[in-house]
């Protein structure tokens, strides 16, 4: 029972499964009351076919041979029932050519031997089948027959389970053709329910065959003919299923499924046509290999996510507020203060997102705290809050899902067990279409081979380990210094900028105003270079060095970001103090206003005051949003400018100065730049982190980011194609995919932390934003629960949020996680165990087959002796079996294995082999 299952588990070799499947099929066939003799013949042929696959190598030849056999078989069959004449002719022609090929090949000695092997296999199989058949048919109580039957049944059960995964093999195809033939003899009208059932099964199998056909390594001609055959069959018999009304219904269903399939296919086509930048990325892929393309795919993926975030914020927050909220100038928070009015439209101010930009839907402060707006009664504050939460939740979901999928795809397999083989078999990137890249790839493969060999030879070559250690420690120390220095610099700059801000921005130069962002961008630009220089001290393997480098840049960015946030927090606290004062002043001002106006007009004194004149708080939320937006803008600008200067200008200079320079610029020092995949990916990740952090306070951020990514896509595609050269060290993309994803997840977590912290702990400003007047932002949920839902709901909710319920729930989740983890661990252990078993079994198999081969050789010796004694008797036997007998005279054990293991249905190791061996041993002895 476990046999098929084991093989599926361990290697997923589907051929193996399908061979089990085949066995099951045999069993089924046997049940059918068919003439025994003919059955046997067919089976022999089919078996031959299967066995002839054993050699695999001579694929073409075999295919031909198979076709020939098929034809032969068909002819026999056609003699019986006289059908399918045309097809037969075609097959015959094929058969002829197949024979010709065979003859040609037969000249070659080795090949023939192999063929003989196969054929011997065939014979054995034949004999085996015969035996099996007899035993099962007559229900003789032969021990081993019974056992086999049980085994087969078990196999059948197993295979049913795996059916979906199963790539049906050629044998199955043969099977089906046979079945088809049989079914053709049945008249649809006179079908018993059983037969109908069988027919249905056959039809279903045909359908499955059609579906899996594309996954078969056959030449197109064969696939086409099989497809046509099966479709013909389907058309003929699908209608036969069901009676009367049922039949019509069935036909209708079939038609609908056909239509549905077609629609699905068209939809698939449409979908692939809709994927943006596919051609661009493919072009890059073919020039630079998959690693550079992986960056662009990542960029596209990011673009997709940002599109959705943008859709959420734009559709549910910005547009409703702009359309249905109170218009600009209707209230203080929606009006530019009097003092700033003069400069509110200046480009410099707008560029800094001050002035009119600040008092617009782009920022938190503009939103009104009115519970429901417009004729739709749109719950604006609630929507704002939920969109903020939804953005984060969606991002988590997507990132984690992608990570899980990637992990699945990579199999998470045993990392180093096939180190060399992977280098050998999978290191070539077939996408490379550029000779230069190909040369680089050759070089990198060679070095990787050499390195691997060296590592293997002397796994620890310690030439002055102390020096290396010292250098590494030194390098890390330097890096730490850099990180600390950059952190301090940012903190210093942010504090200074606060001082400037207090003084009033107008008194300072452009540099002083933009100091923070510029310093951050510059640090982000130059520190990685510094790290690169430092890392040469360490003398690591390039791959490890790359990881260190990535880790360090990551730490740098993270440190910078967090310093920035801490400085922002300071500023928030300052603003809140300011707010207290303003609040106090407000009451005084209002009182004075009130006192002053009361005598004249008691009904509407505030109306006379223009909203621009009303004093207002500093609104720290908008300030935070502005900071982030500015950061993004300056970051984007730096990226683009570096791209233009570092890549494009450099390329132009190198190209044109090369005509009049003393050394070769293209090959020598400056040369062209490489595309820095890891740096770019990191940049993208951090950019995204800032979006996540700031999106709550500046709903325009996703929109900005979409714009940025869009431009990036085109600009970078262009830059890569026109001014970069392929990397010298060509890395594979997929290995690092999840590494990037993991970083993205970390960033997501780290960037939501401060955002959530501010939302939860700091009370919102009193006079701006959708939550003004509440003590905490999340109070909006409670408010909604109380006023918009029935009373029982809020009661239930309050019960549910009771710690007594939440804590057990959390505990349960932790337990579930623990349980899942431990089961996965045990599965892994089971895997290892199974692998061991496989190896053991293999050893055993080998021993057994060796013994069997020896025995066969001895038997053959005897047979030969016997034959020499009465040679005349032996000749008819020879012709009878189409010269297959000599095949058995190849008792060289090695080649024997050869044929045996070459059979695609056979996994290395493998239970099925043992089974086969068990049957085969007696049949061998008979020779």
């Amino acid at each position: 029972m476990t046999k098929c299952g084991v093989s599926v588990l361990t290697t997923g070799d589907e051929d193996e499964v399908s061979s089990c499947y085949e066995e099951h099929e045999w069993g089924k066939n046997r049940v059918k009351g068919r003439e025994k003799e003919r059955e046997k013949k067919k089976r022999g042929n089919a078996r031959k076919k299967g066995a002839s696959r054993a050699g695999r190598g001579d694929e073409e030849l075999e295919e031909r041979a198979e076709r020939g056999e098929k034809g032969r078989r068909r002819r026999k069959r056609d003699n019986h029932d006289g059908k399918g004449r045309e097809r037969d002719e075609e097959e015959q022609a094929e058969e002829k050519s197949g024979r010709a090929a065979k003859n040609k090949k037969n000249l070659k000695n080795e090949r023939t031997r192999k063929m003989e092997q196969e054929e011997r296999d065939t014979e054995e199989g034949d004999a085996k089948r015969k035996k099996k058949n007899e035993s099962a048919k007559r229900e003789e109580k032969k021990e081993d027959g019974g056992k086999r039957a049980v085994k087969e049944k078990a196999n059948a059960v197993k295979t049913k389970k795996h059916k979906k995964k199963v790539e049906t093999s050629e044998e199955e195809d043969v099977e089906e053709e046979e079945e088809e033939e049989k079914e053709k003899e049945l008249r649809p009208e006179s079908l018993s329910p059983e037969e109908l059932e069988k027919l249905k099964e056959a039809v279903d199998e045909k359908k499955k065959l059609i579906q899996t056909l594309r996954g078969k390594p056959w030449p197109m001609k064969k696939k086409l003919s099989t497809l046509r055959e099966s479709q013909e069959f389907l058309e003929k018999y699908e209608g036969a299923l069901g009676k009367g009304k049922g039949r019509r219904l069935y036909a209708y269903k079939v038609m609908m499924t056909k239509k549905w399939m077609k629609f699905q296919r068209d939809f698939e086509n449409f979908k692939t046509a809709c994927i943006p930048w596919e051609m661009k990325i493919k072009e890059i892929e073919s020039h630079f290999g998959s690693s550079v393309a992986s960056y662009f795919i990542f960029l596209r993926w990011m673009y997709g996510i940002n599109m959705i975030l943008f859709g959420l914020t734009f559709g549910l927050v910005m547009v409703p507020e702009a359309l249905m909220g109170r218009p600009y100038g209707s209230m203080p928070r929606k009006t530019v203060p009097r003092a700033d009015e003069a400069s509110a439209m200046d480009f410099a101010v707008l560029w800094d997102f001050g002035g009119y930009a600040q008092y617009s839907v782009l920022f938190y402060g503009y939103y009104n705290n009115q519970r429901a707006i417009g004729w739709l009664k749109f719950r604006m504050p609630l929507s704002y809050f939920l969109v903020g939460v939804g953005t984060v939740a969606y991002s988590y979901m997507v990132v984690i899902r992608t990570m899980a999928r990637n992990a699945n795809e990579s199999g998470g397999g045993d990392d180093n067990s096939f180190n060399f083989s992977w280098k050998m078999f999978t290191s070539w990137d077939y996408l490379i279409g550029n000779p230069e890249t190909a040369d680089n790839k050759f070089a990198s493969i060679t070095t990787s081979f050499k390195e691997a060999i060296l590592e293997e030879q002397e796994s620890r070559k310690d030439d002055n380990i102390h020096l290396t250690r010292f250098l590494r420690v030194l390098a890390n120390f330097l890096v730490m210094c850099c990180l600390a220095g950059s952190g301090y610099l940012i903190y210093f700059v942010v504090r200074r900028s606060q001082k400037f801000a207090l003084d009033g921005l107008d008194n300072h130069s452009w540099w002083e105003r933009n100091e923070v962002n510029m310093v951050m961008s510059l640090l982000g630009m130059f520190c990685p270079m510094l790290f690169d220089v430092i890392s040469t001290l360490e003398n690591y393997h390039p791959r490890i060095a790359l990881q260190w480098q990535l880790g360090r840049i990551f730490a740098l960015f993270l440190g910078n970001l967090y310093t920035f946030i801490i400085a922002l927090m300071d500023e928030i606290n300052l603003k809140r103090k300011e707010e207290e004062i303003v609040k106090f002043n407000m009451t005084v001002w209002e009182a004075s206003l009130y006192n002053g106006t009361v005598p004249e007009n008691s009904t509407a004194p505030p109306v006379t005051i223009h909203p621009a004149d009303v004093p207002r708080g500093p609104c720290w939320e908008t300030m935070v949003g502005q900071e982030f937006v500015r950061l993004i803008i300056s970051d984007t600008m730096t990226t683009y400018i570096t791209l233009l200067i570092g890549d494009f200008l450099r390329a132009v200079l190198v190209r044109f100065l090369n005509y009049c320079w003393c050394w070769d610029l293209e090959a020598g020092f400056p040369s062209y730049s490489e595309f820095d995949v890891s740096g770019n990916v990191l940049g993208l990740i951090f950019n995204q982190g800032m979006i996540w952090m700031g999106a709550f306070y500046a709903p325009c951020l996703p929109a900005l980011n979409v714009l940025r990514l869009h431009v990036s896509m085109y600009l970078q595609c262009w830059a890569v194609m026109c001014c970069n050269v392929p990397q010298e060290r060509v890395f594979k993309a997929s290995g690092s995919n999840n590494f990037y994803m993991a970083m993205l997840l970390v960033i997501l977590f780290l960037s939501t932390l401060p955002a959530i912290y501010t939302i939860v702990t700091i009370p919102p400003s009193f006079d701006c934003g959708p939550f003004s007047g509440k003590s905490r932002m999340f109070d909006v949920i409670q408010e909604t629960l109380e006023s918009d839902f029935p009373a029982w709901f809020s009661k239930v909710f309050s019960y549910a949020s009771n710690p007594g319920l939440v804590l057990p729930f959390l505990l349960l989740m932790v337990l579930a996680i623990y349980y899942l983890q431990s089961t996965s661990k045990s599965f892994k252990e089971a895997n290892v165990e199974l692998k061991k078993k496989l190896q053991m079994q293999n050893e055993e198999n080998k021993k057994k087959s060796k013994r069997a081969a020896l025995k066969a050789a001895m038997d053959l010796e005897e047979a030969r002796k016997a034959m020499t004694q009465n040679g005349r008797n032996a000749t008819p036997l020879l012709t009878d079996q189409e010269g297959q007998l000599p095949a058995t005279r190849a008792p060289v054990p090695r080649t024997y294995h050869h044929g045996n293991h070459g059979a695609p249905g056979y996994l290395p190791g493998i239970p099925r082999q043992t089974e086969a061996r068990v049957h085969r041993a007696p049949s061998l002895q008979r020779h």
Binding site: T11, D15, G55, R56, G57, D58, E59, S97, A101, E110, I210, L213, R214, G215, K216, P219, M220, L224, E268, N269, K282, E285, S286, S290, E409, G411, F420, S421, W422, M424, F425, T426, S427, Y430, L431, I432, G433, N434, A438, F442, T446, F449, K450, A452, I453, E456, K732, A733, S734, L838, Q839, N842, H897, H898, H901, G902, P904, L907, P908, G909
Partner: protein, 189 residues
């Protein structure tokens, strides 16, 4: 078979879609590229073949060290000259397409690496494979010692039944664990 006209029949197109991992656009593109490669007199033939030499001029294959093997593997020609019909060409593209399964990819990869077409990767095949991977120039070639070491290591890892060769199932076993085989075994027109 009906691919004679410069345009593909609708039925045939849908059949090709059914039988390959390619989308309609890709098939049409493939057909376009294929007819571009055909010479004038070939176009008149009912089932034209492109000789290997002109297949190899495709930029997608030009710098591939296995280009000749690829042609040989996918060719259904009786002459063993590596020439491709349109259907062979589609087979090729299908196996190398994005959505092809690991099984089919590994199957063809095995046949591509099996230089002497004997159904197993023996030492000779592996040597040729290494030489293909390290390029034609002498400075990137491995020394015989290194080669021996490398091949021994490979056999140690992947030759599970220890018969001195790597067969298809062993190969698929190894490949199925590899993280980047599927992503790199791709050719896109």
């Amino acid at each position: 078979m009906g691919t004679t006209a410069s345009q593909l029949g609708k039925d045939l197109l849908s059949e090709y879609q059914e039988l390959t991992f390619l989308t309609k656009q890709e098939i049409l593109l493939a057909h376009k590229r294929f007819t571009e490669l055909l010479s004038k007199e070939d176009k008149a033939l009912p089932n034209p073949r492109i000789p290997m030499q002109s297949i190899l001029t495709l930029p997608e294959l030009k710098s591939n060290p296995f280009r000749k093997r690829i042609c040989h593997v996918f060719s259904t020609s009786d002459m063993k000259d590596g020439s491709l019909t349109f259907e062979d060409f589609l087979d090729l593209l299908s196996a190398f397409s994005d959505s092809a399964t690991l099984e089919i990819k590994s199957h063809y990869a095995f046949r591509i690496f099996d230089f002497d077409d004997d159904g197993t990767l023996d030492v000779g095949d592996l040597e040729k494979l290494v030489n293909c991977l390290t390029g034609e120039t002498d400075d990137t070639r491995l020394t015989p010692d290194e080669m021996r070491q490398l091949i021994n290591n490979i056999l140690e890892e992947s030759d599970i039944d220890k018969d001195g060769t790597v067969n298809l199932s062993e190969f698929q076993h190894v490949i199925s664990r590899s993280p980047d085989f599927v992503s790199s075994f791709k050719i896109v027109l």
